[in-house]
Symmetry: C2
Subunit: 412 residues, 2 copies
């Protein structure tokens, strides 16, 4: 994989020009893209910038995010073929202002829901890279680009990062501007980043937000609460091993580690994530679902068909649970620095029919808490499983600092 931190260091030392850094990515894309299929569009004539902390860094943008110089087809060309927004989304502008170069639009499941893309998992071509940010995860994992942007409504950043063995952050809700991004659920949709390593993610997030404290150094002796998420069902192949391995490695490296049970209200919040998501999705996709029913991506259409029964009262009750659960979770996170949980139930499923299950991510998306994926374990078939560090809302620096600790603990 291409290390953003390493490219940045070499550029700052004068050992690498921004043009040469960008060329490394462009060459890698030329080499791997035909096989991996991570991009739906490539920038016509990408140029490195001379200034900015991310000069020379190539970035891929999930294709539900508006770009002024490339179409935004949202993984749904049946409806959005050739759709050309006039403006760049704010996250795209932030990247450009920080010096990065957008080299292409990455594949997304249709409207960031479930209908899969043709993208392959670079770790094992017989498996899905996960979704919905399939191309962003795969492009980083294949060593094509050092940085990519995705979004998460259920588990669409952290899960593909886990399946592809890359670092990623789903920051606190709306830390990155949620504008110019196709809406699925306004309460949940969160813009996130993928990179080779946690340090890379931290550097990029600090650079584009202007919040230098987000490039946080490793947390020493963190207090970690391990959450098995039994309430969301049991882990799958590779899952149990990964979480146990990570917890042991953390303890060995000096963390104080204990298992934490989530209170009933937090478990209830996991159960009603679907109500919030689908009630809002029926409004967000009203035009697509009602005016374009016959050409709707079939899996998303079925999800909408199956969730027509949620009422405003169901939704209000779900939002009430959400508020209470956020308060309860915030209390829990006074006693530990971070929670540690699986980023996905197990390894990437075989084949491309399914992008996997978001059940270990939905709660944290609804809570709006920062989550950082750290590759933790490699199962048979070279298939990785990740763990996520989860901090309180607004404490992204702590989630990153704990993830850096975990990264070192898992390497040693």
């Amino acid at each position: 994989m291409i290390s953003l931190a390493d490219q940045k260091r070499r550029i700052e030392q004068g050992a690498l020009t921004p043009d040469a850094a960008l060329a490394e990515s462009l060459t890698a894309i030329d080499k791997r893209e035909a096989e991996i299929k991570a991009f739906v569009a490539r920038a016509k004539n990408p140029k490195a910038q001379k200034d900015g902390p991310l000069r020379g860094i190539a970035v891929g943008i999930k294709d539900i995010i508006d770009t002024a110089d490339m179409p935004t087809e949202m993984g749904a060309p049946s409806i959005y073929k050739g759709n050309q927004p006039r403006a760049d989304a704010p996250i795209v502008m932030q990247l450009r202002q920080a010096g990065a170069t957008v080299v292409g639009k990455t594949t997304t499941t249709a409207f960031a829901a479930n209908d899969p893309t043709p993208t392959l998992n670079p770790r094992n071509l017989g498996h899905t890279p996960g979704g919905s940010s399939s191309g962003s995860a795969a492009a980083v994992a294949a060593g094509m680009i050092p940085l990519a942007v995705g979004t998460q409504t259920g588990g669409s950043v952290i899960r593909p990062a886990s399946f592809c063995g890359v670092a990623a952050i789903k920051p606190s809700y709306r830390l990155l501007p949620p504008v110019g991004v196709k809406c699925f659920s306004w309460t949940l949709d969160t813009v996130g980043l993928f990179a080779a390593d946690v340090e890379d993610v931290a550097i990029a997030l600090a650079a584009i937000t202007g919040r230098s404290e987000l490039n946080a150094p490793e947390l020493k002796s963190p207090r970690i609460g391990v959450v098995t998420q039994d309430f969301a069902g049991p882990p799958e192949a590779g899952g149990s091993e990964a979480l146990q391995h990570a917890a042991r490695a953390a303890a060995k490296a000096g963390a104080s580690v204990r298992e934490l049970k989530m209170p009933e209200i937090v478990q209830e919040a996991w159960r009603i994530h679907i109500v919030v998501q689908q009630f809002e999705a029926h409004q967000a996709f009203a035009w697509e679902y009602r005016e374009n029913y016959d050409i709707m991506p079939p899996l998303l259409r079925k999800r909408l068909d199956d969730s027509r029964h949620f009422t405003p009262a169901d939704y209000d009750a779900a939002r009430n649970v959400t508020l209470k659960a956020r308060a309860a979770l915030s209390d829990i996170l006074k006693d530990v620095d971070v929670l540690l949980a699986l980023s996905a139930p197990g390894i990437a499923p075989k084949g491309l029919d399914s992008t996997g299950d978001a059940r270990y991510n939905q709660l944290w998306t609804l809570m709006g808490t920062p989550c950082v994926n750290v590759p933790a374990y490699v199962a048979d078939g070279n298939l990785p499983v990740g763990v996520q560090t989860i901090a309180d809302f607004g404490h992204d620096a702590k989630a990153i600092a704990a993830a850096r600790f975990m990264g070192r603990a898992l390497k040693s």
Copy 2:
């Protein structure tokens, strides 16, 4: 003005066909539009629907809201001339699903900021109709349409309603879906409705949200807390009279009325509205401001020029104040049913250079509370001043019920 409630009643009684109801609006637009200039685009061949609670009702959509059959130029044709979204925004779909017919796009100040439109105030052609939802307020006030959609980030729904003498609601934050709407500030932007009378607003809001309880009957003997908003500066011509008149009328009609002072944290929230709005606006308008600086609408550009100094720390501090103020306000709203405050400092300013001052609206937008404008007083020059009933977040039915009480109290 065209009464939505009256048209609806006549249609349901069979005394008016939906086609004839729609024709009333189309004829009125033909008659008044050349003078008032409330529309930027008109639907090509608007047809009444046969079904739905709002069948036959003509609605105007503020031109920062996406429509699939008309361009969305955002009051900024220098940048968005001919901009044609592929999809209808969710609020447009909700209206269509409820049976309404979109007859045109209404004028908006550029990007819903300050640069004025050519729209005149139907109550007095020498005065501004207010903004940013200028065309929506004016089209209802001129008797062209019974219903219009606007948005509020500072005071862009309630203030023009006050200036034009129409009813309007800025509902609880995100009660109406904030999607497919040009973003100014994601924490603040709120979709709202204009109609001739509070009953009309209530019927429309209930119909499009599927929340029948929002068509709330008049509240009997409400407990009302009068807020003078001194912290936001003194009222202007017509303002003091309007609030005093409304408070006296309420007491006479059986309300329990007392003056309430806002605690310091709530006053502080009013002061930091600007931080939240402008910090987010710099992200939301990054493409327009950085890629189209020379052709930016000048007043918005200056506001962005003047607010470049806000830091992430300023923004985080402002959000912290916001959370505390919301909790404090919610406590206050346990002791009274609603607050009553001026909808604008006074009458509409003379001329079209300014759309007036949002200082009596900003706090409530930041608090996310429902606000309903009720015309309260007519100053010299036939210029109205409104008062707003303000309920706790999520209690839109109570704000409406109290506004209906105020409407009757002010008529008797």
